[in-house]
Amino acid sequence: MRRLYGLLVVVSLLSLLAFGGAAAQEEKVLVVGLSEDYNGLDVHRAYEPGGSLIHKAVYDTLVTFPTDSVSEILPNLAESWTISDDGLVYTFTLRDDVVFSNGDPLTAEDVVFSFNRMKNLKDNPAFLADGIASVEAPDERTVVLTLAAPDPAILAKLVFDAFSVVNAEVVRAQGGTDAENASEVDTAELWFNDNSAGTGPYMVDFYEPTVQTVLVRNPNYWGEAPYFDRIIIRNMPEAATQKLALEAGDIHIAMDITADQLPSLEGNPNISVFSTQSDTLIFLLMNQNPEIGGPVSDPKVQLAVRYALDYEGLKLLGGAGTNTPAAMVPLGFAGALDASEALPRDLDKARSLLAEAGYPDGFTVDLRYPDFTYIGTQFSLVAQKVQADLAEVGITVNLVPEELQVSLEAYRGGQHGFGLWLWNPDYYDTLDYVEFLPGGVVGKRANWTDENADATILELRDKVKVETDPEVRNQLFREIQLYEQQSGPFAPLFQPGVHFAYSAALKGFNYNGQWRVDLSLLSF
């Protein structure tokens, strides 16, 4: 036994020596702590926000956003573009100085291959390409994108990382294909986990699932060379661990900080904190189908619920940075109503609306929701708050927490009568919120269809879907949101805050909703 103890002491001493004596690295390394939400790095299957962080550093898209907002479309691989008068044909001219990480020049063929592969893989992001009728390359530097119907959001969609351009020749050699049956015959998916074929400032070195993703500088990068030689994205599923590792200096950015961790970070001079409202919209769904929704399918009851909610109190549940949108378009999107235009809490009005609807003494209803925590927002707490708020106007809410997957299935199937849910934008254009209108993805979940919706909203919806003039669009979105405040099966609750903490020595930290942080612009 004594020998064993001796061994332990020696081993610990050895290990302390090794730990303490970490040699100074000449290589400039950035270490990011991230709760890994992706299972692979095939960019044409990209869907998760964590993956965007990596794809942004490795690949480029035809057009892009500014580094700190999603407010305008900027050139990227395409130096310019024209749009036909009917809004159907987009002609892009590519830059002539772009090369892939292996030195091959970028051609229009690569763009055609990439877009078609993404569409034909029929994976999670493929819906973004639904409106694309064809992509052609009349010459080496020209890409012609033809739409089936005008889509005012197409340029914003093209910024999404799944539209990244890869080196067609390299990916083909690995079994990749853009053929129509790509979903069955493409075999390049796993190759992307330890390789890349992009034009971005970094290349994928290797991906060790659930452990780390390592990027190295692209020696052939056509733009300005990034500061860091190597970027290591370490999977740290637990926010508390990320915070500890940041405080200890082992990571430089913690991507999943929660609101309750902020106070203890504030006094630390070595750490900077960035908080903003997220683009996640948390809302109540009230089913339009009386058989499923019961009393909450009544438009007067729906309005009463919107008046009965204590928005100021709900906001506290999302933590710092939380805001309340005025309707179903989150703050930050073009055309969103100002927060000051939100419906106020008015209990008398809510009570009289309930009386008008035939429920002077209220009613009892089940509130179904996924029992989980999303970016720091605990759904069970939000549900309790809704329960308490509605109790004040006589509505008795029974809380029905459900396991996420089970709940999700019922919600997607339109089976939730009264539900508490969230929506993240698929792409950064206000048009994504047409999904909350009749016949939209979320609208259908509330059984709000062309048949049971009134003509006003259907007409607004159809107009906004094809309108390209920004002024007119904003006006249409405004009318839609004012309509949503008065009728319709949803009540907006809040947009929770989103928080990042990083080493105060790090320069160039900027956030936008699409890729969150452009790692290639960071330096010490």
Partner: protein
């Protein structure tokens, strides 16, 4: 019966056991009132009937339950554990990728538990009801009852962040690349490759999670050792040994501990099985990419092939640890051979 025949018979018995477990896991996984489609397809893809149909066909989810099961079993017998729905990699590869991290952690954990538990148990039995016994019992109580989550965070806060004597989460520092894979255990692989710095770093990274993971087993082993020692020390042969004038040290270790070890071995075996399969919290907090975390992620996305793979692996782990415990019994206690 000879040892090898005994071993072989036990191993053969494991086959029907594992098949039975596969059936039960398959039934349970299928009984969950949820759909892998919802868990693995994005919002929009799940709304597209064509994509949903293709998904079901690809993963065989459109087949009746028993057809799915027998397909699985047939593939399994030919050595194919299927492909993970979530990661799209072969399940066997995934298990091989994640198991070594967990084996390394659990082994370190059980070593910690042994180094702490057995001496503490012996000490507290020998000096029964003295202050040192009291202290040992408090330690074992804390070990058994402190939540892993709490213990892990406190340990990290104190030893990693404040005192800076141990490294933080992960199996290695970010700047140290993993050693070339032979066994997948970083310590062993670093040793094989002769990378001493990597070895030191891997060992240092092991200490905190191993202590946290081993704490419960340490407490348990302390208690079992203490009570087993107390039983043994009251036996007549101990009195005999003492009256022969043997040194107290010899009496306690050679005559006492050796006989008290039998129940302890059982607990160690079971604990090791538990550590190998139940480390999900420790793995999460310490960002340790092991099988526990893989099982958790697979379960959350209803990744049937992975869930099945993990279940079979866990079954095998318990069959094997039990087998090893029985073999140790065989060696430790000659009476069993009769």
């Amino acid at each position: 019966m000879s040892l090898s025949a005994y071993f072989l018979r036990r191993l053969l018995l494991a086959v029907p056991l594992v098949i039975g477990i596969s059936l039960v896991s398959f039934i349970i996984a299928n009984l969950v009132p949820s759909d892998p489609m919802a868990a693995n397809l994005g919002e929009r893809a799940a709304a597209d009937p064509e994509i949903v149909a293709a998904f079901r066909a690809k993963w065989g989810l459109d087949e009746p339950f028993f057809v799915q099961y027998f397909t699985y079993l047939r593939n399994l017998l030919s050595g194919d554990m299927g492909t993970s729905i979530r990661t799209r990699r072969p399940v066997a590869d995934e298990l091989l990728r994640y198991m070594p991290a967990t084996v390394e952690l659990a082994t370190a954990g059980i070593i910690v538990a042994l180094i702490v538990g057995v001496p503490l148990g012996v000490i507290s039995a020998v000096w029964r009801n003295r202050p040192i016994d009291f202290v040992a019992r408090i330690i074992s109580l804390i070990g058994v009852s402190a939540p892993v989550f709490w213990l892990a965070l406190v340990a990290l806060l104190l030893l990693y962040l404040r005192l800076r004597i141990l490294p933080g989460p992960g199996r290695l520092d970010a700047v140290i690349p993993p050693p070339p894979t032979v066994t997948g255990l970083y310590t062993i692989d670093a040793l094989i490759a002769g990378q001493w710095r990597t070895l030191g770093n891997a060992l240092a990274h092991l200490i905190l999670p191993a202590v946290v993971l081993g704490a419960y087993s340490a407490g348990l082993i302390t208690r079992i050792t203490r009570s087993a020692m107390l039983d043994v020390l009251s036996m007549e042969y101990i009195t005999t040994a003492r009256s022969k004038g043997l040194r107290e040290r010899t009496v306690i270790l050679r005559h006492g501990l050796r006989n008290a070890l039998l129940p302890v071995v059982t607990v160690i075996g079971l604990s090791y099985g538990n550590l190998l399969t139940g480390a999900v919290l420790t793995e999460t907090i310490f960002s340790w990419g092991g099988i526990g975390r893989f099982a958790y992620d697979s379960a959350r996305s209803l990744d049937f092939p992975s869930i099945m793979g993990v279940s079979m692996l866990i079954a095998l782990v318990f069959v094997l640890t039990n087998l090893i415990v029985d073999m140790l019994y065989y060696i430790l206690d000659p009476r069993i051979r009769l």
